[in-house]
């Protein structure tokens, strides 16, 4: 594990604090560390319309989105010296005093019964230049989506990275015990709003995986006490059984072109191996042929190789194999347990489950310099999934006996637990960017 001090030399706070322990292992920061997060101000939006207050709190959604990304530290409303809604009322001195880098103002104007205009502007406090200004139409029903879109635009303008606030996450929940046990496959916004049940079952559901066009989810269902892989279309709810071979069918993942699934098959002899399933022809081609457990396949973003978990060297480690077949090449060498690899969409890193001194934690392996960075601090952390901009990771952890979800910035510096929901939540997967 690389010393964080060496990686992040530009942070003076860290240098001052750890000056006497330059080579000590730095544990990854827990929530609320003020590291690389830029201080910004999002001023409550103005409102012009029929009702006493706006139908939706857009600035609150923008604030929470920017905060959750781990790259911004929005200041509290109570500290603001003025609350302008237009440029003409903006006094930059009042913001320079508060030491914010950027200020965002806006307003909602009602122009019809259910027709609104949402406008926002972001200014650089030091140069006083407008960074972005935009106006969008909205209805009451689309306000939330408009807020996420505004957050995306502000985020991208300020960081150069595409925002992911309009994307979705899928996850599995488990509730009840014994005969009342119920599993649900759910899709929601990244902040947990707009939960939508995709599938419900009294038998376990596992390993959801998004298609590249975000229209389908593959998953494993244990209906009828056997493991079967389905692909379900979200809009219609229709699903196809794509793999129900004798024995284990598991760990589906879509190829970047959406035409194939990498899956795990066990057969009658129960020896788990990696296969590629062509969704059009329904033909399986076998990729690994080893008596070890080979499972948890995932595609590299260039579509040319597959990473997977194998215990062929004794304990689980991550391996890589060309899609055309060949020898599997070992990828992880640190520690006795590395499993469940997931590539970042930019192809540069692999998130995985790593056993760190008795605790199962999320590790991020840099494929270039081979550094392994531990980005979580639980005991049973699992199922990491990158955001489509490669800048955040969502994963499952424990809060007491319950499973909950956390998001961490890809550099491991800012972590946020997601709002708790009923039951035990596991296996989060981040959707791709939506394709309009």
């Amino acid at each position: 594990m690389k010393d964080l001090l060496v990686r992040w030399l530009m942070i003076p706070v860290l240098l001052l604090t750890f000056a006497g322990a330059a080579y000590a292992q730095l544990e990854v920061i827990i929530t609320d560390y003020v590291g690389k997060r830029a201080p910004v101000a999002i001023v409550p939006f103005g409102w012009e319309g029929d009702t006493p207050s706006a139908p939706f709190d857009i600035d609150n959604v923008i604030t929470e989105d920017l905060k959750r990304s781990g790259r911004f530290a929005p200041i509290a409303e109570g500290g603001m010296l003025q609350k302008p809604t237009e440029r003409v009322n903006l006094d930059f001195d009042d913001w320079r005093i508060l030491k914010v880098d950027a200020v965002i103002i806006g307003k909602i104007v009602q122009t019809g019964a259910n027709v609104y205009s949402v406008q926002f502007q972001a200014f650089d406090v030091n140069s006083q230049e407008q960074l972005i200004g935009y106006r969008m139409p909205a209805s009451r029903g689309t306000m939330r989506r408009v807020a996420h879109r505004a957050a995306d635009m502000i985020y991208e303008k300020l960081t150069g990275i595409p925002g992911v606030f309009g994307t979705k996450v899928a996850y599995v929940t488990a509730r009840g015990t014994g005969d009342d046990r119920l599993y649900t496959l759910v899709v929601s916004d990244t902040d947990g709003e707009n939960q939508f049940t995709i599938m419900e079952s009294t038998d376990p559901i596992m390993s959801p995986a998004w298609s590249p066009d975000s229209r389908e989810l593959a998953y494993v269902s244990f209906e009828g006490d056997a493991a079967t892989i389905y692909v379900q279309t979200l809009r219609s709810g229709n699903r196809i059984k794509v793999s129900s071979r004798a024995g284990i069918n598991g760990a589906p993942a879509f190829s970047p072109d959406g035409r194939k699934l990498v899956v795990t098959l066990g057969g009658l002899g129960g020896n788990l191996d990696i296969y590629v399933l062509d969704l059009a022809t329904r033909q399986f081609s076998r990729l690994t042929r080893h008596r070890a457990i080979d499972t948890e396949g995932t595609w590299a973003p260039d579509g040319r190789s597959i990473y997977f978990t194998s215990d062929r060297s004794g304990g689980p480690q991550v391996y890589r194999i060309e899609v055309g077949g060949g020898t599997a090449e070992r990828v992880t060498f640190e520690g006795s347990y590395n499993a469940r690899p997931r590539l970042s969409p930019d192809g540069k890193r692999v998130a995985l489950v790593h056993l760190d001194r008795g605790n199962y934690r999320i590790g991020v392996l840099d494929l270039d310099d081979k550094d392994l960075l531990i980005v979580s601090n639980g005991t049973q952390d699992e199922s990491p999934s990158f955001a489509p901009n490669s800048d955040s990771i969502i994963y499952a952890t424990r809060e007491g006996r319950n499973g909950v979800l956390e998001m961490v910035s890809a550099d491991g510096l800012y972590r946020q637990r997601l709002g708790s929901r009923a039951g035990d939540i596991r296996e989060p997967v981040w959707s791709p960017f939506p394709r309009y």
Partner: protein, 174 residues
């Protein structure tokens, strides 16, 4: 794990699973209560006329109540030697009735990655299956499935719960 505790656990699992056919009959009463003292007075072989605490008793041969759960050590799918006799009894059941079918359900404790744990559970099912085949069962009579960590028997995050979860359950399916 002590064999007596194993049997007790197996019996608990058996009762909990609600297996049909081999429930414990209670002579003389309809409401399912255990023996009361009145019945004990007529029974041979009991010193005090009463049962000890926590002991199950019925008039049938205990070996009809086969243990249905096999336990494993951490990260292992090797069968412990003391299961050989038990599995021989199951294998004989199958060998003696060609219509009999069982499903071996493999499980793992919660630690680590879910799909990898499916693999561990399946290895355990296969270990039991292999021995049953050697002992006289036919391949067509045995199916296997693995639930990995998805169907825990015990819900704590401690060694005791982990031990109870590393198991194969034997289910007669017809």
């Amino acid at each position: 794990m002590k064999f007596s505790r194993l049997i007790a656990l197996g019996l608990v699992a058996l009762l909990a699973a609600g297996c049909g056919g081999n429930t414990m009959p209670d002579p003389g009463t309809d409401d399912g209560t255990m023996m009361d003292d009145g019945d004990m007075a007529d029974t041979d072989g009991f010193e005090d006329g009463g049962l000890g605490d926590g002991e199950f008793f019925d008039e049938f041969d205990d070996s009809d109540e086969l243990t249905m759960v096999i336990y494993f050590d951490f990260d292992q799918s090797t069968l412990r030697a003391d299961y050989a006799d038990l599995l021989q009894q199951h294998a004989s059941n199958l060998a003696n009735d060609s219509r009999s079918q069982i499903r071996l359900e493999g499980h793992a404790d919660e630690r680590g990655s879910r799909e990898y744990n499916i693999g561990l559970g399946e290895q355990r099912s296969q270990a039991v299956r292999s021995l049953l085949l050697i002992q006289g069962a036919s391949a067509g009579q045995i199916s296997t499935v693995s639930f990995g960590e998805e169907r825990a028997a015990a819900f704590g995050s401690d060694e005791e719960s982990y031990e109870l979860n590393r198991r194969v359950e034997i289910k007669y399916v017809n």
